[in-house]
């Protein structure tokens, strides 16, 4: 495969790697510092907002990146390196040896990171559900909160917020049929009418928390690596929020019109 083709494929593969906490691709967040692809050899450097970002999430993103790149047909040799982290040595050694989570962290690892992933898939779903349903409440002033239990997925308009909700439901293994109720708990069960206002209220705090962290992490990354600003894309769900959090500093407006260049693609 041509270097440019492989580079583009690698870039697309990295677009599928998510930061589970922030529910966004690592590419949009600016976490990909550089990407080189040459003669089947792919090398990616990752960077994070602080050297004290949680090592379990750091490992997840780096190992997911390695898996996604290794699956490319033209990839013969894949190297993923996490830069400037307190566990860089440990994680990079584990990645190079394909040691897995337990092989990398030894006695600090008990089983695996699947439960951790699940916790954040549930949070991502809760936030997406709140965005979609709050938007619906705004659009239909006559609709009482308590009646949201009657709303099915087919009632939601075909918007980015709805599509995002469907993706999160699929990721969690919840139903995506037009007749499925839109407001459900983590297991896909409908919420009793009396509990709806509290449940929605809690879902809002989840959404605020995830969005707030995503903005803070973007900002910290730019503080730590000023050149990362050019690689960051605006958080896509901002436009879906009822009260837009559009205050990410003067850079955010520029960014929407700027072409991203995820590190150098050689």
């Amino acid at each position: 495969m041509w270097a440019a083709q492989l580079g583009a494929a690698a870039r697309a593969a990295l677009d599928t790697v998510y930061d589970p906490e922030l529910d966004e691709p690592i590419t949009d967040l600016g976490f990909v510092r550089s990407l080189t692809a040459d003669d089947g050899r792919i090398t990616v450097h990752l960077r994070l907002p602080t050297s004290f970002c949680s090592p379990n999430f750091a490992y997840l993103m780096a190992s997911d990146a390695k898996d996604a790149l290794s699956a490319l047909p033209g990839a013969r040799e894949v190297t993923v390196l996490l830069d400037d982290h307190h566990d860089s040595d440990l994680i990079n050694r584990g990645l190079a040896a394909d040691a897995g989570y337990r092989g990398t962290f030894g006695h600090e690892a008990e089983r695996d990171l699947e439960e951790l992933r699940d916790v954040f898939r549930r949070k991502a779903h809760t936030a997406a559900m709140e965005r979609a349903l709050t938007a619906l409440l705004r659009a239909r002033p006559g609709l009482a909160e308590e009646r949201l239990g009657d709303v099915v997925l087919g009632d939601l308009p075909n918007t980015a917020a709805t599509r995002a909700l469907l993706r999160r439901r699929a990721a969690l293994g919840l139903g995506t049929a037009p007749t499925d109720p839109a407001l459900v708990d983590d297991e896909g069960r409908p919420v009793p009418p009396g509990e709806i206002p509290l449940r929605l209220r809690f879902a809002r705090s989840v959404r605020i928390s995830v969005d707030g962290n995503a903005h803070f992490c973007r900002g910290l990354l730019r503080t730590r690596y000023p050149d990362s600003a050019a690689d960051q894309a605006p958080r896509s769900c901002d436009g879906q929020n009822p009260v837009a959090a559009a205050e990410d500093g003067p850079a955010s407006e520029e960014k929407t019109t700027r072409t991203r260049n995820a590190g150098q693609i050689v």
């Binding site: 906490e21 004290f52 307190h86 006695h107 089983r111 439960e115 705090s205 989840v206 503080t223």
Partner: protein
């Protein structure tokens, strides 16, 4: 006492530090990484006029602390919440002797809280008893992501932590400040999860549990447990500087806290020297929920601001508030 528009605000800064992160005190690369991380927080969230040079940030000393808090910063009383970080810094990060000496030099202005680490087991328990007597401890600060040997964290519901909390109860240490960090054992779990605080708060209903930076980055989990546990409180460290860079986000944080916890369980903290209190106090007194968000969050009242800025922490620590700083009967009603 901070005065604005005819109102008096008694200010308690419930989370300050006197640290030494200079290269000669750094034990290894992690000492540098840690203070650099703090410095990026400082640079990212401070107004430009409040930025410190990196050299000042590494170590500022007691004199500068007194000036920043009490001369310039409107603070009436401040509480040391030291992090030991013995794996990163030779004499620790928080400077115990210097901070305690300062506390004795300025009685009535400073409270010294110390830290413990349950992984020191029996020896640490003996030390806690000595520390309680020496420092007259009313509170402790726990950093659950502290590294110790090959362990990089502990939880509040670990059996040894419970023994320490029992000792706190016996020693009259009522206020347990918890600061969650990025590591935990096992790493399978979310290190910022506050489920262990929930358990401890249920089992030690006579102790106050102040979760620093109000559970951020897990505001929602924190609010959920705090709703159920009346002895769980929110410290505003790290949350309050968003008032400058992201006032709408700050409105959401404070709005959520007021909704879930109410106005009596939120404490102001600058997290000095991460940030300086002057601008935080001034901005918070002036703060209003943006008009287009008042459907979601009611406007903050003067009484709420007074409680958050000082009266809540003063009540928790038994700090006397001058008459003019107290709430008038009408404000309470």
């Amino acid at each position: 006492m901070y005065r604005k528009d005819g109102e008096n605000y008694f200010i308690v800064d419930a989370h300050v530090a006197l640290w030494d992160a200079r290269p000669e005190n750094q034990r290894n690369i992690h000492g540098k990484q840690f203070i650099d991380c703090f410095y990026d927080y400082h640079r990212n969230l401070s107004p430009e006029s409040e930025l410190w040079p990196y050299e000042d940030y590494l170590y500022y000393g007691g004199e500068r602390l007194m000036k920043d808090l009490f001369v310039d910063g409107h603070v009436d009383h401040a509480i040391f919440q030291p992090a030991r970080l013995g794996a990163f810094y030779r004499t620790g990060f928080g400077q115990t002797e210097e901070a305690f000496a300062l506390t004795r030099e300025h009685p009535g202005k400073l409270t010294y809280n110390h830290c413990f680490d349950p992984r020191f087991e029996e020896a640490g328990l003996r030390q806690l008893r000595e520390d309680a007597a020496r420092f007259g401890l009313k509170g402790v600060k726990l950093y659950t992501a502290e590294w110790k040997g090959d362990s990089r964290g502990y939880q509040l519901d670990d059996p040894w932590t419970y023994r320490y909390l029992e000792a706190c109860r016996e020693l009259g240490i009522r206020n347990i400040h918890i600061h969650k960090g990025p590591t935990i054992r096992p790493l399978d779990r979310d290190a910022f999860d506050v489920a262990d605080v929930d358990k401890a708060a249920t089992d030690f209903t006579d102790l106050n549990f102040v979760v620093e930076h109000c559970g951020l980055p897990r505001l929602e989990d924190f609010c959920w447990i705090a709703t159920q546990e009346p002895n769980v409180h929110a410290g505003l460290a790290v949350a309050i500087p968003f008032i400058h860079t992201r006032p709408r986000y700050f409105a959401q944080i404070i709005g959520e806290l007021l909704y879930w916890l109410g106005e009596d369980r939120i404490q102001f903290s600058s997290d000095y020297a991460l940030w300086t209190p002057k601008w935080l106090v001034e901005r918070f007194v002036d703060f209003r929920i943006p008009e287009d968000m008042t459907d979601e969050y009611p406007q903050l009242t003067v009484a709420q601001k007074k409680k958050i800025l000082g009266l809540n922490a003063a009540a928790m620590y038994g700090i006397e508030v001058p008459t003019e700083g107290r709430l008038s009967e009408s404000a309470v009603a």
